[in-house]
Symmetry: C2
């Protein structure tokens, strides 16, 4: 698809977004029902398309060109498709994030200012192999009143096309324009999309750190996401040793490939005698490679601790490796986290409330925890209902982001002919500015 | 200053921001008082520095190298300095935007999640000649707990330096680090600042459209501002003719150089007979040049209406010129506004509530008004207390932005040793997710 064709498609998305924004929530919910039903009705066609993608992928796995986990994520069956349809229907139960009155100020008699949430407009969602992302993202976009342009992985091209065709068939029955859900394929098309900062309001990347970093570096459109998760657990001088060990093990091992898994543990020197042996012992027993600073290695005695280098403080291992560093103060811990962390999720373990308060206040991250595992950073665990992504940006939405990340607000002023001249200069009429 | 020196300065700002974030509001307020007092105590030095800037500027105005209004804005006297000091003190009365609990969810017993507003960190504010911007922006930054790096206009270099020196002297007496307010000079330093997306959290440009557009195009740091204000008034078929004329005159003439002044009026064909003559007659009488589409020119009879070109629909005149175009429907009006508008502020004049509701819903702009002048788009008029800027971005803050535009939020999780493993897999403990 040429750059011009991508622009034309985005213009169609914009038009669809405008129409969507005026439809009542019931119409958008009806579309979700229709999509869910149609996915089940189209099961044979979708699974056939998926079978072709899977067959190609199997050849690539055999040839060593593709990692086996990618193949597993790509594969659909009737049961998985049915749970995808159920997930689309479940999005109906989420609260409508748009049309909420966020504030109201009576400026004067008959001059009412309202701050009202509204859809962003057009989302571009760029993801890798998972076909369930197509239906989930489309459902979240429709629920929040946004049009979406999807770009899936090339290995799932036929599956994505079949899913989008099914969604279009469902939308054709109702008032939601088909163009509300569009898709493009190809790397050049991604670059064309990323250039459309006048037409696309938000880019949501879902995939590897490389994908996210590439997108962040190549667009002026706001990006909702995070390139990496270098999360820390700081074990303070006043930590309960057993709690510290439990939290570190959970933060490292509950799901090591997750962005909210811990990569470095900072250990206050005063906690070394009580914590080091049980901590390193447990980690090694669970098969974790421990990389330590000189002081950790010296204190670890017979335990095999690899020498950590500067690179280890920046590493997101995404696997069973943990860096361990001694710090001599809370200040040094905070400095280290603010310097090497990726502003994702950071934890302190301590019985000292003042130390906890300083850590929570001074650490610059989307989530800062006291006596809890970093793994709690998740939209479901936060009770958000759905997770659009986890953002490490400070602007717009931060941390796990639910549907509220897909809306903005506008100021609506309801007047009865007022002009500013009345409120300025000599004899100016005063404003009332009554809130609520 | 080399790029490395600018980076070092920004690192100092970051450190100062961390310290600021932990100070109680009373300490920040004390700093505002100290700054206000010190500005008055340093009046002689500040006015002398300003006198040198003004003398240079006068020579440049005589040589035709500088516009006279710039000179007027640059000039300080004792009275102006005293009102600047009073304005700094007045910032104390604004509500503290940081440290507000925006949400609270009990995830489980002894596991409380809080969403708390907090300062962004480091602001870079780039402005043109006005010396009062130095003190006002510093005060807003301190009140909201942010460090700020100022870059003023070269013509005000000595004045800015004297003001910043006075602020530093005031801060030296209290707990707020002097590095909380820093300044750089020079175009190369601006480019160096704009490259520091890992250290600077928000750029606030205050100046010409060219300045803002340059900054938006040259940084990955979020920018709070707007490059232009192409605002419309749409006079609907069901408009009250007299109200329409009054609103257009106010929107165009109350302050034509303002970003929220109207540039194009769209006139529904059905309103033409009742509105065109009084509207064009009043505009011409007030000295406004009217540029019209062919239909407007044909209907305007003897009134001198210049032929509008495509460029007029995109123009921000910032002066006594107005474009006038006939549309045949509400849809055409909305299409025109969404196509040519700058997403700033748009108004409809109509007695038809359904038409107003559609316009308010479908027009994509920071402010959309019914029966009111576009000139109401202003932080003071909105009752925000202070205006940091007006943003046409959809992300973070939109429209007139008060102190709340200088904060973000973080998620604080207060636990008592919880790990995620407890809440997953077989026998998983359920979350409580109790709001409030």
């Amino acid at each position: 698809m040429s750059d011009d064709a991508v622009r034309t498609l985005a213009l169609e998305s914009r038009r669809a977004a405008r129409r969507l924004a005026t439809l009542p929530a019931a119409a958008r919910d009806g579309a979700l029902d229709a999509v869910a039903s149609r996915l089940l009705a189209d099961a044979a066609v979708i699974l056939e398309a998926n079978g072709e993608d899977v067959a190609d992928a199997e050849r690539r796995v055999e040839a060593g060109e593709m990692a086996p986990p990618l193949l597993a994520r790509l594969r659909l069956d009737a049961r998985k498709l049915s749970s995808m349809a159920a997930a689309v229907r479940a999005v109906r139960t989420l609260p409508d994030p748009s049309g909420q009155v966020l504030g109201r100020t009576l400026l004067d008699d008959g001059l009412l200012l309202e701050k009202v949430s509204c859809p962003l407009g057009v989302l571009a969602v760029i993801f890798e192999s998972r076909p369930d992302a197509v239906t989930q993202i489309s459902a979240l976009a429709l629920r929040s009143g946004n049009a979406v342009i999807l770009k899936g992985g090339s290995e799932a091209a036929r599956t994505t096309a079949a899913l989008v065709a099914s969604i279009h068939a469902a939308l054709a029955e109702g008032p939601v324009p088909e163009a509300a859900v569009a898709s493009v394929a190809g790397r050049a098309e991604v670059d064309a999309l990323l250039a459309l900062h006048d037409l696309v309001d938000l880019v949501v990347p879902r995939g590897s750190n490389e994908l996210v970093a590439y997108i962040q570096a190549h667009t002026r459109i706001p990006v909702l996401g995070h390139a990496e998760g270098v999360c820390h657990v700081y074990v303070d001088a006043a930590a309960d040793p057993q709690m510290a060990v439990e939290i570190v093990l959970d933060a490292k091992l509950d799901y090591p490939a997750a962005c909210n898994a811990a990569e470095t543990v900072l250990l206050h020197r005063a906690a070394l005698p009580d914590v080091l042996f049980p901590l390193v012992g447990s980690l090694l027993e669970k098969g974790v490679e421990v990389r330590g600073c000189a002081e950790v290695r010296a204190a670890a005695g017979a335990f095999p601790v690899v020498a950590a280098t500067e690179d280890d403080w920046r590493a997101e291992y995404l696997g069973p490796v943990l860096a361990l560093k001694v710090v001599e103060s809370l200040d040094e811990a905070i400095d280290h986290v603010n310097r090497y962390g990726s502003r994702h999720t950071e934890a302190i373990v301590t019985r000292d409330r003042a130390a906890a308060a300083r850590f929570l206040s001074e650490v610059d991250a989307a989530g800062v925890y006291h006596n809890a595992s970093t793994r709690f950073a998740d939209g479901y665990r936060y009770g958000l209902g759905a997770e659009v992504g986890i953002s490490t940006s400070k602007i717009h939405a931060r941390g796990p982001v639910g549907l509220e990340g897909l809306v903005t607000y506008k100021w609506l002023l309801h007047g009865s002919g007022q002009v500013v001249a009345t409120y300025t200069g000599e004899g100016a009429r005063p404003f009332r500015h009554e809130k609520g």
